[in-house]
């Protein structure tokens, strides 16, 4: 009870303080929500967010479900954050539909929020920063087919069936295949984004297909699993992955992996945090940036071969040029 009274007394003071800090325009706390600690992609998002926050003299608070992609856990983290009241939120929903009530809670609390990576099905956002899984799938597959001269026997190793990323990436793969009449799709089998499962699927597919020329894997871990299977059987095929992980860059360098599509996690973290802080400081923001997919190959891997901590965020002027489909 006493604490509550104290709360009422300090509230006007806090509001006054908030106005003065806004005038000084730094020291804000940005809560960054990502989906899990297991996917290296979100690590790049977090490093990007931290990097931008440091540049702009703000702080980040990371919120990550302990159980990967847990809907109830992210919901309760939202409840916590609404009580804690950070200056702004950078938000990746673990599920683009199921988290809408959570976003509405944030909106009710009047905390500005930027949506990154997966587009939320509802709620009000300052801006959306993301990449496009479909064009990532399309461009990486186009690159593979161009390398193969537009023909050959192709297999697809899919991610988790029904997940948004997988649906879009595989749709991109298939559309690229349709553009090349000489390419034949032998099989489209699930590896659930797991290395071991992709390795085993590839081993099995090699038993029933004497000639496989290209492998389209929906993420890098599965691409590397497929390469291990090919190596084990002394067979060769061109393999592409998606995500641009460090492991994939190493494999591209050594010539084992043809290419990987960069999902630009680092830039998403940077730009999401930038827009959140700019909104707080009453500076203009860009409402939507859909980053162009980059196909990382042996010709352009160098900028990606730098430790995350040493990369630098794009500026606002650069940001406006990064989008556009």
């Amino acid at each position: 009870m006493r604490q509550q009274k104290l709360g009422y007394l300090t509230l006007p003071l806090l509001i006054a303080a908030a106005f003065t800090t806004q005038a000084r325009a730094d020291g804000e706390t940005i809560a960054v929500f990502t989906k899990n600690q297991t996917n290296p992609f979100f690590q790049t998002v977090r490093v990007g967010a931290d990097n931008m926050a440091k540049v702009l003299n703000a702080k980040t608070l990371q919120y990550i479900p302990t159980k990967p992609d847990s809907i109830p856990e992210q919901l309760s983290q939202i409840e916590d954050v609404v009580v804690k009241k950070p200056s702004a939120i950078v938000f990746t929903p673990v599920d683009y539909k199921a988290m809408v009530p959570g976003v509405e809670k944030i909106n009710e609390a009047k905390i500005p929020v930027v949506n990154i990576t997966d587009r939320s099905a509802g709620g009000k956002f300052v801006s959306f920063i993301g990449a496009d899984d479909y064009s990532l799938g399309l461009e990486t597959a186009r690159h593979l087919l161009k390398t193969l001269g537009g023909k050959g026997n192709i297999v697809i190793i899919e991610g988790v069936k029904g997940s948004l990323t997988n649906v879009d990436r595989v749709r991109g793969f298939n559309d690229a295949l349709k553009e090349n009449a000489g390419a034949k799709l032998l099989a489209s089998q699930p590896g659930n984004y797991q290395r071991l499962q992709a390795l085993q699927v590839m081993e099995n597919l090699m038993q029933s297909n004497a000639q496989i020329d290209g492998v389209l894997a929906a993420n890098d871990a599965m691409a590397v699993g497929a390469i291990e299977a090919l190596d084990g059987a002394n067979r060769k095929a061109q393999v592409i992955g998606i995500n641009g992980t460090k492991e994939a860059i190493d494999a591209i360098k050594s010539g084992k992996l043809l290419a990987s599509g960069d999902y630009n996690g680092f830039a998403q973290g940077c730009l999401g945090t930038m827009m959140a802080i700019r909104a707080l400081r009453d500076q203009p923001v860009i409402n939507e940036i859909v980053l162009k997919p980059t196909v990382i190959t042996k010709d352009n891997y160098q900028p990606f071969d730098v430790p995350l901590e040493q990369r630098s965020c794009p500026t606002f002027e650069e940001a406006s040029k990064l989008g556009g489909k």
């Binding site: 690590q43 099989a187 089998q189 038993q207």
Partner: protein, 325 residues
């Protein structure tokens, strides 16, 4: 009193007993699946594919073999997959830091064994039901592994070390030799040693076992330690076969291992089952996935078919068991 002792320590368990009947049914089921696949796919019966299936089944079998002993005592070890993940990450780090595969293998086995021992201590000294204790351990291990790896992947191991998981000896994959060795040791241990018989007795009736002088706590400790150590062994095979380790491999390994034990005819209520049955269980799971890959069954149907096979196997088990009793 002497009757109880005799029955508890040495239940009738010749190779033609009830367990043998159960194993026979399972072998029949596996052969039936093989026959169907041989008709549907030309490549199924090739030597390459059979070795392929055996090698793929071996990883599940290593995890499931130790787990079988736990289930025989009417316990459960839900931490095996998470244990494989942590052990693989630790073994991988040791190999990277010291350059010595031998030290890495020791570290992996030790990590697995220590985790198993801790499970055993929770079950025996603290009297926590194994389901809860090992479920808690699963979270502890996940937390440690995620924290330790921080979204990174370990990859690139010495060629000599890679032989364990991917190499051949006289035309057979090395994991298949290991599979035969541990199948032999496990079967002999369970069926032909006093300790093995005591484990069956504990599962059949823990009170009778205690009254007849079996050191129940020490045997349970042993069983959980063995389960953990086998998870450690699986982590080494995993690491050397895939050439990499990441934090999120555990989740995809636990349930297939439990399924292999159950499909193999080991009762969740303890006291009934064989290590050989578990091998057949691992084989059936692998055959189903292998077959679906060979036949290019749509990715949508694969989890469904696997689920139905698991349910069917356990239902058939209950049915045949009632009849033989």
């Amino acid at each position: 009193m002497t009757d109880i002792t005799k029955e508890a320590i040495a239940p009738p368990r010749s190779f033609l007993s009830q367990d043998a009947t159960q194993v026979f049914y399972r072998l029949l089921a596996a052969l039936l699946i093989c026959a169907v696949l041989a008709v549907l796919s030309d490549s199924f019966l090739s030597l390459g594919n059979i070795l392929n299936v055996l090698r793929q089944a071996s990883l599940t079998f290593f995890i499931a073999s130790g787990l079988t002993l736990v289930v025989l005592t009417a316990g459960l070890d839900l931490s095996v997959g998470a244990n494989v993940a942590l052990s693989a990450c630790i073994a991988g780090t040791v190999i990277h830091k010291t350059g010595s595969p031998a030290l890495g293998i020791l570290a992996g086995l030790a990590c697995g064994g220590i985790v198993g021992l801790l499970n055993g201590v929770m079950v025996t000294a603290l009297r926590i039901p194994s389901f809860i204790a090992t479920y808690g351990m699963l979270w502890v291990l996940n937390g440690l592994t995620y924290w330790y790896m921080a979204g990174e992947t370990l990859h690139g191991f010495p060629a000599g070390f890679r032989q364990i998981g991917s190499g051949y000896l006289f035309g057979l994959p090395i994991p298949v030799y290991l599979l035969l060795v541990f199948l032999g040791i496990g079967t002999l241990f369970a069926q032909r040693t006093i300790w093995g018989q005591e484990i069956y007795a504990i599962g059949a009736n823990p009170v009778a076992a205690r009254l007849s002088g079996i050191p129940v706590a020490r045997r349970l400790l042993l069983v959980y330690a063995v389960s953990g150590t086998m998870a450690g062994l699986a982590s080494i095979i995993f690491l050397s076969r895939l050439n990499s380790a990441e934090a999120d491999i555990g989740e995809s390994l636990t349930l297939p291992a439990i399924a292999a034990v159950l499909i193999g005819g080991t009762s969740l209520f303890g006291g009934v089952g064989t290590v050989f049955g578990t091998f057949i269980g691992a084989l059936i799971l692998t055959l189903v996935l292998n077959g679906m890959n060979l036949l290019s069954v749509s990715a949508n149907w694969q989890p469904l078919v696997t689920g139905i096979i698991v349910i069917l196997a356990v239902w058939l088990d209950m049915k045949t068991r009632r009849r033989t009793q």
